[in-house]
């Protein structure tokens, strides 16, 4: 024994580390990516790759000094999640803008990994929602016949140009009865609800990766079983959304859709499983996570029913993120041995 080293206790460690957690989240997102590429073909693939690459490059640009920032996989998660929430025909150059904003304003400006207040992917999406309102609500049918050999027209729009109209292309695909609207929009403006079967399997119009609720939930179950995800948050979000929808339906069954429709449409499952659970922007206290999840679920339904938008998950989660420090502050666990609240 030549030299002895000094270290602080504890001298054992569980072996968990940040890259492992992040890498497993990426793994669990891969089936969802694969499904979306199968549905939307080349356009979805290029959108995923472009946005993720933009996020990685932006992260690199802002953290040139630190060596670890790319190896922790968190930028990959942000990129994939952001791409999954964009419409499949979204122009790639707008995707680059979204990715840059997500990493630069959503993350780097706050101080990088762990310091961001808002989920970076949603910051990016909120920006492009405001900047490109038409492109982000242009929907195309899934399973177009030539999806693996040609792009959807919007995808390859030249930078700073407005994407071409997709209606002519949609007609060419020979897809019957394509309405050009998401199930949520159709419910809101036409009072037509989609069948649960279509919603579960993903045979509906929607963002790139938000189509199959069942696949998203399965990936979530995998993550929760491996303990890389706090199962309480998605459960709280989905339960509170379902309860709120159920309460509205009790009030007026002819006007409000069933809780199942609310759960399966739009980005609620993707948001509940992958976005709301972002560790850096969700509470840590045992009571806090339930409150946080409940707020997101309720706000989502309220925006969908009464807001000007058809979809409310994004803003609900951003609101939840903003409330997180506040929730954490007021839900401190009772320390062992501390007296219970004194009665005045």
């Amino acid at each position: 024994m030549s030299q002895i080293e000094l270290r602080a206790a504890p001298h054992q460690h569980s072996g968990s580390n940040v890259p492992t957690i992040m890498r497993n989240v990426v793994y669990s997102l891969l089936p969802i990516c694969a499904f979306s590429v199968w549905q939307y073909g080349l356009s979805a693939l290029f959108l995923l790759v472009t946005v993720t690459a933009t996020c990685l490059l932006t992260e690199r640009m802002f953290n040139r000094a630190a060596q670890n920032t790319l190896s922790d996989w968190s930028a990959v998660i942000t990129g994939i999640l952001l791409a999954l929430t964009l419409p499949p025909s979204f122009p790639l150059w707008m995707g680059v803008v979204a990715g840059f904003i997500a990493m630069a304003i959503g993350k780097a400006m706050f101080g990088g990994l762990g310091f961001n207040v808002f989920n970076p992917a949603l910051v990016g999406r909120a920006f492009v929602q405001a900047a490109f309102p038409v492109a982000i609500t242009t929907w195309v049918p899934a399973f177009a016949p030539h999806r693996f050999v040609e792009f959807i027209p919007g995808t390859l729009t030249a930078p700073l140009m407005i994407p071409p109209d997709v209606l002519a292309w949609i007609k060419l695909q020979g897809v019957d009865a394509f309405t050009g609207a998401t199930p949520l929009a159709r419910w809101k403006f036409e009072h037509v609800t989609a069948s649960a079967q279509d919603l579960l399997s993903g045979a509906v119009t929607s963002s790139t990766g938000e189509t199959s609720a069942i696949l998203i939930l399965l990936c979530g179950v995998y993550l929760a079983a491996r303990k890389f995800l706090d199962w309480r948050i998605p459960v709280a979000v989905l339960a509170s959304a379902a309860l709120t929808a159920w309460a509205f339906q009790l009030y007026d069954v002819s006007h409000y859709p069933s809780p199942l429709f609310v759960l399966l449409t739009g980005g609620l499952t993707l948001g509940a499983v992958f976005m709301a659970t972002d560790m850096a922007t969700s509470p840590v206290t045992p009571v806090g996570v339930w409150i946080y999840g409940a707020v997101i679920g309720i706000v989502t339904v309220v925006i969908r029913y009464f807001g000007g938008l058809t979809e409310g998950v994004m803003y609900a989660i951003l609101l939840g993120n903003a409330l997180t420090p506040f929730i954490d502050q007021y839900t401190q666990p009772r320390v062992l041995g501390a007296q219970r609240e004194k009665k005045a």
Binding site: M1, S2, Q3, I4, E5, L6, R7, A8, A9, P10, H11, Q12, H13, S14, S16, N17, V18, T20, I21, N68, D72, G111, G112, L113, G114, F115, D230, M279, A280, T281, S282, P283, V284, T285, P286, V289, D328, Q332, P333, R334, V335, L336, G337, A338, Q339
Partner: protein, 462 residues
């Protein structure tokens, strides 16, 4: 030595881990962690250690005032003889751990990290090293406090590591009525098995010690808490229990930190120690099994504390095991004897979760050293530290239900006052669960130690 990394424990533990929801719960506390236990030495009998050529006996081996040396350089001392007397109530005498000649009384490096005065004894090589000096008392009919005074003479301090003088701990403070004596046989730290072996081999001494301890603290009953990974210890204790039923053995879940006073009290009795108070305020006194085993062995003989059982283990030790080591044995001699591998690069006194790495191998074994662990390079490699990602793992691990996430963020900003005022920094007993689970490898518990010592130093300066 090839380490068996998994399934090292007796069959009982795995069966409790497989417990179904409707099965009866083993008493335990909330949160905590399940580290790898490495309790391979638990099946090896306790063996006697040889005497080092020189023993370094610090005058302060306990919490409280150091003892006062009553020998001079060049004087011959006989094993068991008092070589330093107690300085007041919260102090303990020191007995000569071996027969030999006092070579010097000078400062030596100690496990506290500071230089402490010590009596250095050159051991007679040819001597049989029997304990020659004893001072037995008639213990019948003594009152609790009188018994405590006799107990002080044998010099026993808490063997779990806190080294609080046992006699002083047992006397109930004014106005407190002690209803339960908890005997801590949980031994939740990985690698350590000395308490385990003591329970298996010296159950009778423990019962005698419990009897003395109850006479001092006045507790009508005693509960021995043992983790369920030590079924042989439980069996040995049950076989030795007194017939009147006032002493019971309770099996608790194998979980770290089960052996901390707060968690074991909570697991066994469901009581919480109120913040800022001691366990005596809820009628509980806790002693370690080894402490009571030594009380039970030494007190009837009137013999001083000259040695203790120490677990010597770790991946970098050739012949790990439990050894009866004379107090004052330098670690260098100890590790040479058990064969430290050349890969050894870190030596820890105590367990791997709460023990301290030491800076010098000249540090001697003292009354509070329950384990000496040697780790190689691989086991102590420091991985990259990431920023806190708010995963909340530490919040779910903290047995005290503190919020290490928030405290860690505040510690990085040096907001030590806020940590103490709002987040109960002072309640942290530094078990290390938060650091253990942190995926970002943030040294949380170390930050809390720094914060605590900063506040303590400032208070002292004011």
């Amino acid at each position: 030595m090839k380490l068996i990394w998994k399934n090292s424990n007796c069959g009982l533990r795995s069966s409790t881990n497989m417990r179904l929801p409707f099965q009866k719960r083993v008493p335990t506390f909330d949160h905590g962690i399940h580290p790898e236990y490495h309790k391979e030495t638990g099946s090896l009998p306790i063996r006697r250690f040889p005497f080092a050529p020189k023993l370094y006996v610090p005058l302060s081996q306990h919490i409280g005032k150091p003892a006062i040396a009553i020998v001079t350089v060049g004087q011959e001392v006989v094993r068991g003889e008092v070589i330093a007397r107690a300085d007041g109530m919260f102090s303990l005498p020191i007995h000569a751990p071996a027969t030999g000649i006092v070579e010097a009384i000078s400062p030596i490096p100690c496990d506290t990290g500071e230089m402490e005065m010590a009596i250095i004894i050159r051991v007679y090589e040819a001597d049989g090293q029997e304990v020659k000096v004893r001072n037995p008392h008639n213990l019948d009919g003594l009152s609790g406090v009188e018994l405590a005074m006799v107990m002080q003479e044998i010099g026993v301090a808490g063997k779990g590591g806190a080294v609080f003088p046992t006699h002083a701990k047992l006397i109930p403070p004014n106005g407190c009525v002690i209803d339960t004596l908890i005997v801590n046989g949980a031994e939740c730290e990985p690698f350590l098995t000395c308490d385990h072996r003591i329970m298996v081999e010296r159950a009778q001494h423990i019962m005698t010690g419990i009897d003395f301890a109850r006479r001092v603290c006045g507790a009508p009953r005693a509960i021995i808490g043992v983790e369920d990974n030590k079924p042989d210890a439980v069996a040995a204790l049950i076989a030795a229990l007194p017939a009147d039923g006032t002493v019971t053995v309770k099996v608790v879940e194998t979980k770290y930190p089960q052996g901390v006073a707060e968690t074991l009290t909570h697991a066994l009795l469901g009581r919480e120690v109120p913040i800022g108070k001691r366990s005596s305020s809820i009628g509980v006194v806790m002693n370690n099994v080894m402490t009571l085993a030594y009380v039970g062995k030494l007190l009837p003989l009137g013999e001083g504390m000259t040695e203790r059982v120490v677990t010597v283990a770790g991946p970098a030790v050739e012949r790990p095991g439990n050894y009866i080591v004379p107090l004052g044995t330098p670690l260098r001699f100890l590790l040479d004897y058990v064969g430290a591998k050349s890969s050894a690069s870190e030596v820890i006194l105590g367990g791997p979760m709460m023990g301290n790495a030491i800076a010098s191998l000249d540090i001697p074994v003292t009354k509070g050293v329950c384990g000496v662990l040697a780790f190689g390079k691989r086991e102590v490699a420091v991985p990259h530290t990431y920023p806190c990602i708010h995963c909340g793992e530490c919040v779910n691990a903290c047995p005290k239900k503190l919020n290490p996430t928030q405290m860690g963020l505040l510690a990085a900003k040096r907001e030590y006052d806020l940590m103490a005022d709002k987040y109960f920094l002072g309640e942290c007993f530094e078990c290390g669960c938060c650091s253990y689970v942190c995926p970002s490898h943030i040294p949380l518990v170390q930050q809390f130690r720094v914060a605590k010592s900063f506040l303590k130093d400032r208070k002292k300066a004011a």
